[in-house]
């Protein structure tokens, strides 16, 4: 899945992990699941702080995987394969779940930590969308910082049924607790 060059770069990043992280994967028997399996199996050996197991729950999209700090549930999940423009989001999510500090300002970090309530986000992205990563990365970071925030980033191209049912015509589209959020601020 990853070419030698990218692999090496990613490995260098994975050395910055401060805490053990766990990739929990949900596969089905599709080709895309096979691709995801390959990707995750390439990432796992990059650091001894990374472990990989399969998901028990039937309640998740397939293929998908969550990234967790071992012993806690961070609520960061990708449904689909975060390559293309989302590859950076994957790298950042691995790092931030692994305790690597984000570049956000201290003010915003505190504000996120103090958010009160349960926020379940779903973002539909496409691999060629240039302004999707900002949103995906923001919501992932919020999930890492606040246990009340959870986020699934979904590749719309892979989950066509949902996209049709929810009538999603543009990306990124963000849902909060099942409701569509206004796209432009």
């Amino acid at each position: 899945m990853l070419d030698a060059n990218i692999k090496q770069q990613l490995k260098a990043y994975m050395e910055k992990l401060q805490q053990p992280i766990e990739l929990v994967a949900a596969y089905d028997d599709s080709d895309k699941s096979q691709e995801l399996r390959e990707l995750l199996e390439e990432i796992e050996p990059m650091s001894e702080k990374i472990s990989l197991r399969t998901e028990e729950s039937n309640d998740v999209r397939r293929p998908s995987f969550s990234i967790n700090r071992v012993g806690s549930d961070m609520g960061v999940r990708f449904a689909g394969i975060p390559m293309g423009h989302e590859f950076t989001s994957l790298v950042l999510a691995l790092l931030q779940v692994g305790g690597h500090p984000s570049k956000a300002s201290q003010d915003v970090i505190e504000q996120i930590q103090q958010l009160d309530g349960d926020f379940e986000f779903e973002t539909y992205f496409s691999l060629s969308c240039q302004n999707c990563p900002d949103v995906v990365q923001a919501l992932n970071l919020m999930s890492v910082l606040n246990p009340g925030v959870r986020h699934t980033a979904i590749d719309g191209a892979l989950f066509q049924d949902e996209v049709e049912k929810r009538e999603i015509m543009s990306v990124p589209s963000v849902y909060l607790n099942g409701e569509r959020g206004a796209r432009d601020v």
């Binding site: 956000a104 504000q111 309530g117 900002d134 949103v135 923001a138 015509m169 543009s170 601020v185």
Partner: protein
Amino acid sequence: MTLEEIVSRLDTKSDEKEAEKINQKDAFEVLVIGGGPAGAAAAIYAARKGISTGIAAERFGGQVVDTMGIENLISVPYTEGPKLVTAMEQHVKEYDVDIMNMQMAEKLIPATKRGMPHEIRLANGASLKARTVVLSTGARWRPLGVPGEVEYRNKGVAYCPHCDGPLFKGKHVAVIGGGNSGVEAAIDLANIVGHVTLIEFGAEMRADDVLQKKLRSLNNVDIITSGQTTEVVGESGRVSGLKYTDRNTGENHHVTLEGVFVQIGLVPNTEWLKGDIELSQQGEIIINDRNETSIPGVFAAGDVTTVPYKQIVISMGEGSKAALSAFDFLIRNSVDESESENEAA
């Protein structure tokens, strides 16, 4: 959508904290509502007079945030919206201006007595007070309200022909609206694009005769009257066509094209002012040549007003004028605080 914007939307508590902070502020001498070119100019002109100045805006930058290329800001041959917004903000920050971003004004409560402070209620429940107010809440394009319009906004659906027209060089576009702005847009566009289809809802175009004549003389323009646009259709993320119904026959038609320019007018952001200040039939704040409104001490500038021609340079000029008028008002109505308080008591 940035991290900050997402967080501030969720953080209702920060709203409360913010509201508390705002409530404790002293009355401003000039309070500007709206942070587009008009508001930014007004704030700078007021602050340069050395009077206490605040600016409250729902979104600093206004319509300029959404603009791509800008080629008619005199002395700046080319810039882009977001760049101009950053420059405007930096310029405002050169001065002692209290910038209150992401604050939505909900009500204006005029002073009961000339020279006394007006009150502005904000959506977060807080109130601001000011001896003079400059209203510069701008305008937004009136939307068509048909399926596809929102999805393909900036992907073929456009609202500003002289801004975005050049992006459609050689292509087929539609102009919706046969009023002056629609017909002018169609004439303008016909020079640039390959073909223009103008769709007017009524049985006849409403534009001035000279404009209509000019339009009819162009050989790459079709005019459809009694046409009700029903949908903007797209393919792989961009506009690919438009559907309309012929209101005479009830027949549905599809036109294959790459761009749709919606020209059915602007809506001034004055809903929150209705009943408190004199508005024109179109909902614009009525001003005179000194930017005075129907309320003494309340001025208005830019796209939100009856000023003809809505442009960035014009809004900047108007904002500057409004601030100077506000300053003039303050000098002429300087009241001794203690005296007026005694009177009020």
